[in-house]
């Protein structure tokens, strides 16, 4: 029973966006009654059936590491947080739909987490600047979740949702928008639940089944070298990411 395989997923985002409520909802299928400040890191475990409904179904433990704090913390707090970023298999980025700053800070969060795990490719990584090249060859699956959907007025919903769609595209990730105090958003069979399940399946695949995927890292290096030597090299994010993905999934 305790010897199931495990996968580690980080839950990152600004203070107060609802990470703890989200993790509680995902793991215990209940709404968190009294959310309070998360100091350090709190972990919860979700039991997930990989490839549910098929003969290859297998159960895994998914550990959701909910790391507290803000992006502007002192560097001593950042160094302490960095101890949690080891051997991460997936990242869930959480932002508040009513607070634009939290969406912008997601870039800094992802850089902070990914800079720990990037295989050194010999390319200088600029500090703090968002650089699409770093995300195109990123092996770790990302998921963007927007919370507090119920607090957005009906009229503004459209523009907020388009903005978040751009955000998710930037990260090359799926996105889910929900309200952590209402379990019906993640009810079984809803499109959100399907996206979530697909994300967890992808994380498990990358961790356990795609060892040969590591050999593909040569192509990202070539892409990066080209874009440095030839300044006008077209933005390969649109088709580069797509072709890389298709190379991985067969």
């Amino acid at each position: 029973m305790a010897s199931l395989d495990r996968v580690k997923v980080l839950v990152l985002g600004d203070s107060g966006v609802g990470k703890s409520s989200l993790v509680h909802l995902l793991c215990q299928n209940q709404v968190l009654g009294n959310p309070s400040w998360t100091v350090g890191c709190s972990v919860d475990v979700r039991v997930h059936d990989y490839k549910e409904g098929t003969p290859e179904e297998k159960t895994y433990y998914i550990e959701l590491w909910d790391v507290g704090g803000s992006v502007g913390s002192a560097s001593s707090v950042k160094s302490t947080r960095a101890v949690f970023y080891n051997s991460v298999n997936g990242i869930i980025l959480v932002h508040d739909l009513t607070n634009k700053k939290s969406s912008q800070n997601l870039y800094r969060w992802s850089l902070e987490a990914l800079n720990r795990d990037l295989v050194p490719t010999g390319v200088l990584v600029t500090n703090g600047d968002y650089d699409r090249e770093q995300f195109a060859d990123n092996q770790i699956p990302l998921l963007v979740i927007g919370t507090k959907l119920d607090q957005i007025h009906e009229g503004k919903r459209h523009e907020v949702l388009t903005r978040t769609a751009f955000l998710a595209e930037d990260f090359n990730a799926e996105e889910i928008n929900l309200d952590c105090t209402n379990p019906r958003y993640l009810a079984a069979g809803s499109s959100n639940a399907v996206k979530l399940s697909r994300f967890f399946d992808k994380v498990i695949e990358k961790r356990y089944f795609l060892r040969e995927g590591n050999q593909m890292t040569l192509s990202p290096i070539c892409w990066q070298m080209f874009s440095i030597w030839i300044p006008g090299f077209p933005d390969r994010k649109r088709f580069g990411g797509g072709t890389l993905k298709s190379l991985h999934y067969d």
Partner: protein, 430 residues
């Protein structure tokens, strides 16, 4: 403003306006002092500007800001959302009542003036502001050498940090394994529960009421263990952050900038000790200085060193420079402290309240520093302040400041000593 709100949006425009207005008027007061020394503008127009400035500041500090603070606090509590205005008025009235009561124990009431006169309001605002200033300066006077001097830094090696991190990760692993057991138990309970309920129907429901599954008792036990472990992990996290901060300070102190600040630290510590000494003497000998440091300094140089120069001419310039330096450093120190404080405790819910509180504190601080600055100025410039502020008993304020300064400095010394002693003991424990 942008600096303070970089990470959070304060959406209420009103809050930003109030804060900026408070700040602007406080700075105007200081400008008026400087004009006083430099004798810019006509004397009567200066007087008029003083009066007007003072009225506006008092209006903001006593009426508007507390009202808005009450309003925002009440809006945060979801229950009272309907009758927001009513409750905030109630809060404001309570505040005014306590504000008035504050004046009773102090010898500042003069029966000649009415209730809402400027003197009454200023006297009370002055008391609160002076207390605040003394607390802050007392703490700052002790904390500043403690932070700058590397003598107090504990020795932290990389091995310490690694050991602590290992403990933290071990604790997290233990939490995870317990949570896995809980999740699995819950899942099997859920599945078993379904299997039982489906075929049995009515009798199955009655059966499940009487027999409680042994799994749920197990769950509560494990949950308690998990809570204890989580508390431990939080402590370890905070300790690790502390160690990293100390390590950074050690590295910083090895650079040139660090050495320079270290030297400044020694200098400041001597200055702070001297200040504490002076405060003690003032209280013990019950003496309030009549002459300001500048004139006294010039007198001393003239008497002892035999250097002859025009006292009046120099005193004006020197006092101007001195007052300017005092103003600038106190404003800068206050804003830096406020910014750090704001970063430490801000959250998206309460940022409005915090900004207003900061505006209130800042306003009171500035008003009372005007009161106290009178001490540092030569006699001829004190007249305008005395005129404008009426018959306040300035001596009382200076005494009060000295007392609170002494108390705060001594208690912060005690506090820092205890904290310093306690920290190495924590690391000794296995």
């Amino acid at each position: 403003m942008r600096q303070l709100f970089k990470d959070y949006e304060v959406r209420q425009y009103v809050v930003q306006v109030i804060f900026s207005v408070t700040f602007a008027f406080s700075c105007t007061m200081f400008e008026l002092i400087i004009f006083e020394i430099l004798k810019v503008l006509n004397s009567s127009s200066r007087y008029f500007h003083w009066k007007m400035n003072l009225c506006v500041i008092l209006l903001i500090l006593v009426f508007m800001v507390p009202f808005y603070i009450g309003y925002f606090i009440v809006s945060n509590i979801r229950l009272l959302h309907r009758q927001r205005l009513l409750f905030s008025c109630l809060l404001w009235l309570t505040f005014m009542y306590f504000f008035w009561k504050l004046g009773d124990p102090f010898p500042i009431l003069s029966p000649k003036h009415g209730i809402l006169s400027i003197e009454q309001l200023i006297s009370r605002v002055g008391v609160i502001g002076v207390t605040l200033m003394a607390l802050l300066s007392g703490f700052g006077a002790v904390n500043c050498p403690y932070t700058y001097m590397s003598y107090f830094l504990r020795n932290v090696t990389d091995a310490d940090i690694l050991a602590l991190e290992r403990r933290l990760l071990q604790t997290m692993d233990m939490i995870i394994s317990k949570k896995k057991r809980m999740a699995m138990t819950r899942r099997t309970m859920f599945q078993k529960g379904e299997v039982h309920n489906k075929p049995s129907g009515f009798w199955g429901m009655i059966k499940s009421v009487t027999t409680s599954a042994p799994g749920s008792e197990n769950l509560t036990l494990i949950q308690q263990e998990v809570d204890a472990l989580e508390e431990l992990s939080r402590q370890l996290f905070l300790e690790t952050a502390d160690l990293y901060a100390t390590k950074e300070r050690i590295e910083y102190s090895k650079t040139f900038k660090g050495k320079y600040f270290n030297f400044l630290g020694y200098f400041f510590s001597i200055y702070c000790v001297w200040k504490i000494f002076m405060a003690t003497i003032n209280i013990v000998f019950d003496r309030v200085g009549k002459t300001d440091p500048v004139t006294r300094g010039i007198e001393i140089t003239v008497n002892y060193l035999g250097i002859q120069f025009d006292v009046k001419f120099w005193s004006q310039h020197i006092s101007f420079i001195l007052v300017g330096i005092i103003i600038v450093t106190s404003i800068r120190g206050l804003l830096i402290t406020l910014t750090k404080f704001f970063y430490a405790i801000s959250s998206s819910k309460s940022s409005n309240v915090i900004v207003l509180l900061l505006a209130q504190i800042m306003g009171m601080y500035f008003v009372s520093s005007v009161l106290l600055i009178r001490m540092s100025m030569p006699l001829e410039y004190r007249t305008i302040i005395t005129e404008v502020l009426g018959e306040l008993q300035f001596n009382f304020y200076h005494r009060w400041f000295d007392v609170i300064f002494l108390v705060s400095a001594l208690s912060s010394i005690l506090f820092l000593y205890l904290a310093h002693k306690q920290a190495p003991e924590k690391h000794m424990a296995p």
